[in-house]
Subunit: 315 residues, 4 copies
Amino acid sequence: MAEKDRPARPVILGQNQYGKAESRVVRITREGATHHIKDLNVSVALSGDMDEVHYSGSNANVLPTDTTKNTVYAFAKEHGIDSAEQFGILLARHFVTSQEPIETARVRIEEYAWDRIETPGAPSASAGADRPRHSFVRTGQETRVTQITYDGASWEVISGLTDLTVLNSTNSEFWGYVKDKYTTLPEAHDRILATEVTARWRFGWSDDEQPVPAWDESYEQVRTHLLRAFAETYSLSLQQTLYQMGTRILDHRDEIDEIRFSLPNKHHFLVDLEPFGLKNENEVYFAADRPYGLIEATVLRDGHEPRIPVDLTNL
Amino acid sequence: MAEKDRPARPVILGQNQYGKAESRVVRITREGATHHIKDLNVSVALSGDMDEVHYSGSNANVLPTDTTKNTVYAFAKEHGIDSAEQFGILLARHFVTSQEPIETARVRIEEYAWDRIETPGAPSASAGADRPRHSFVRTGQETRVTQITYDGASWEVISGLTDLTVLNSTNSEFWGYVKDKYTTLPEAHDRILATEVTARWRFGWSDDEQPVPAWDESYEQVRTHLLRAFAETYSLSLQQTLYQMGTRILDHRDEIDEIRFSLPNKHHFLVDLEPFGLKNENEVYFAADRPYGLIEATVLRDGHEPRIPVDLTNL
Amino acid sequence: MAEKDRPARPVILGQNQYGKAESRVVRITREGATHHIKDLNVSVALSGDMDEVHYSGSNANVLPTDTTKNTVYAFAKEHGIDSAEQFGILLARHFVTSQEPIETARVRIEEYAWDRIETPGAPSASAGADRPRHSFVRTGQETRVTQITYDGASWEVISGLTDLTVLNSTNSEFWGYVKDKYTTLPEAHDRILATEVTARWRFGWSDDEQPVPAWDESYEQVRTHLLRAFAETYSLSLQQTLYQMGTRILDHRDEIDEIRFSLPNKHHFLVDLEPFGLKNENEVYFAADRPYGLIEATVLRDGHEPRIPVDLTNL
Amino acid sequence: MAEKDRPARPVILGQNQYGKAESRVVRITREGATHHIKDLNVSVALSGDMDEVHYSGSNANVLPTDTTKNTVYAFAKEHGIDSAEQFGILLARHFVTSQEPIETARVRIEEYAWDRIETPGAPSASAGADRPRHSFVRTGQETRVTQITYDGASWEVISGLTDLTVLNSTNSEFWGYVKDKYTTLPEAHDRILATEVTARWRFGWSDDEQPVPAWDESYEQVRTHLLRAFAETYSLSLQQTLYQMGTRILDHRDEIDEIRFSLPNKHHFLVDLEPFGLKNENEVYFAADRPYGLIEATVLRDGHEPRIPVDLTNL
């Protein structure tokens, strides 16, 4: 049967969403001579009664992505930006409640952090009252992220961070593993353990009736526990370190029910210096790019259903 | 109640996997003076009975990621690389069947394509029989990708492509959309439509008893149908173009049951030249970076369950 | 002597320039149903009598960078874009001749190439006369670049390409090198030679009285000679291959006086498969990222002064 | 005259260099339980009597790039890494003095900074004597760089930084500029000024007889003066801010004779909120990616010859 005679089997439309990605909004708030800055990258994805725009191209149910962008900027003015989470909640609620065809809104936000530039400057009459404070330097460590999803009834907030690079120069071992015919790796009893943490944690908060978490405090605390668990764990495997980080956060932060990590094992290979008559006593390492081990896992409270997807990137 | 006195609620381990990501393998096959090249980036993720390595750090069930890397290289020698899909199937089967604790293997492969460098060179006695053909130039368009998942019983193969940038300089409109108080976008009756296609399609093949698809031919055909549907669709929305691409592929390629697209709307704004006394008759555009519209949808055969995740990146 | 008491030694302003970088302009030309596309990234740098804007912040001599951007778009309409070089010449001449304080203009352009999407489509009455041809797919190989500099009297045109990745799977050796106490590399008599060519070539054309080169033909021919020289050279060192590419281009293209290459030696290491009982007969390679060798050199006509800077990136 | 009959004009070899780029070396120094880390990316470029390797492929004068890489690692063990500058000086001296054909060595180093992870941990008997301190988090702001060049007689050290992003939310204006027929930009009397500083400064030190600068202290001081000058300048143009940064550094740091900046003007456009009935009082901005202004200049001591190249990237 020739291709053109073949009866097509019916085809349907599955999950679909649309929106404006990566609207970059900077919000300055002035408190006298002291300015505050919020610097966000906001991506909105909307879904609902959108079959027709796929079938016939009718945009009758489509709020343009340009409008979602405008809304981000207008809301930054009207409501300010208290935290990425709070701002995302405002936006998600707006789209779902104001547009009949839109059933679900998902707002993803990256937040870029800034530190103040400290300037001794000229002494001021009163205690710095009028000293201008409007200068900032971008903090370079991790990027804070959040994803808010709202379907008109319940909320899902997954926050996290990306690219927090950490390293232990000792207290890491790797031995006792399976050996098959393709195994050549020597066991290690003192190695560098380094990773670039990507993590996402889901809040228990899901209902407007519940008290809203203190988003910024929560972020700072999770980050601190994560770093300390990394530093304080004597590690026999990167999986063990991951699990320690996860349990420590869940033990200390009641507002969080689930956390997932994606941890590249950034290999630091001990350089063989013997050809040069030198002994490398865990001093000189080659930091490799690729390939890298990749360790991923979810840690969650017993009785809770996992909802963070397996693949974290872009979340 | 002080933090340290709070009874910890029980915490459990959820989905977890590990493996070696981004092993870069180049395989040369020599057929006399004619060489063939396969250039892959292989990432392996294994899961199964791995609780203990998280709890205590015991690696007794852990095949090192270094071994998975070695296996990639050894298999490239032992079995050659016929296609990314076939190579991924060999690897996934190996890990699941050879290691008791491993229950599921997922192999992701990016393939970088190379063209031959054509050289007129010196005339050869017979018709080019001995003319050396060992020179290649990297093809720069899209990257072909595949993901093979095997749980010891059934297969899931999702192939696709990333970063195929296409543009129609006419036959695209956008009007008739919802207008709310934040809408300022003027309607467009002749615009540029440009996108950078990310697509993933799932094969129906899932069982060793079924005939294996012709992977390379399938890829070439899907790509061709995708490009033609993009070119031939008179578009009233990017969603409509997406749906046309999806249905055309499913109509023509029986081996595929589901396809998902992630299509950034790469905005090309008509530049206002009136301040300079010039009329811009759809001639001069500003190609913007951010923000961009993002249109995502799954198209699938009726009666089939969608299995491609919503977020395509990294897949 | 306290810091504040130290007499400051006089400080002066050295070379300075300013302008708008990376204006992305897409120009569509319609020839009936057949469209043509030019896709450029244009960066303008202006210099001249600009001391005061540095000293006092007076902008009296400063044409805003926003204006240089507008000029790029207006010129795309008024003059069209014949080639990157020709467009850059128009722009550079404009800035130097129209603004008294501007003495020198340097225009850098990246050009992104597009292929047509071929669609068999419906047969047309006459031979394709009305068949729409407005669909394009971005060509992914190298990026073509050019830099035009004009000081009101003479021209300097340096064109080139970036990221043309090539590979020979044989006909490359490396041996007979210096060995010191830090040398461990074994000699190689059959290796992969791969590089990502960055090249810049300077045209002899410098005066409006001289005939203007055929820019597009020149580019195509240089690229072809470069690829063929790479493919046809039996290489004992990447330097030798570089020199062959350079001399071949200068031998065949009279319009070019000088060419510089920056060639990363993209190492492909033969994987040791002996631990697995396999013999690797130049079949399986690990493509490494970092570190890489880096080979750079200028080849030029005797009697000509080299003018292409040592560091090519950004040029 | 046909191409093949054309007598080739003589072609010569110009400036050439080779070496290993981007050797990633991590050096751990243990002081009891307190570890110190140095994390560098080292690129070596060598030049000298290297004509023959280009002409015939003879490697008789070529120290393999693999050996230069080995030397980096061996020196990290033998000499430690006091600062990037000191380490680069050791390497450059070694290559020039130990290899007859090598006349000049240029060593470029990027240094990645790490902070300690602070852990309260258990209190220790004595004042923290045995508390482990081997955990680090990568500092994310700028990357510190240096370039050391040695020709066997004199030294040139150019240090600097890349990607230090700073922003003033007020005290910046832009008006009084030239207006031509392509000018549409409105004047601004209160705008955001933001840039991503790339800077390179050249030390006066050039001779082994002179006292060596305190490299680390110098870096910290230059960075501090740069930030303060940025924060304290009431800016009428980015050029003015640049010049203030340069003069302040030269006024305070005697060891430096010349400094060059490349400052992208990262535009933050005030969003027009009037269509939504809102007034934007310098509160809500769109942070644009491309195009951007680019301001570049050298500031140097009177009587000194500028030696930092116009194009900073990669330096």
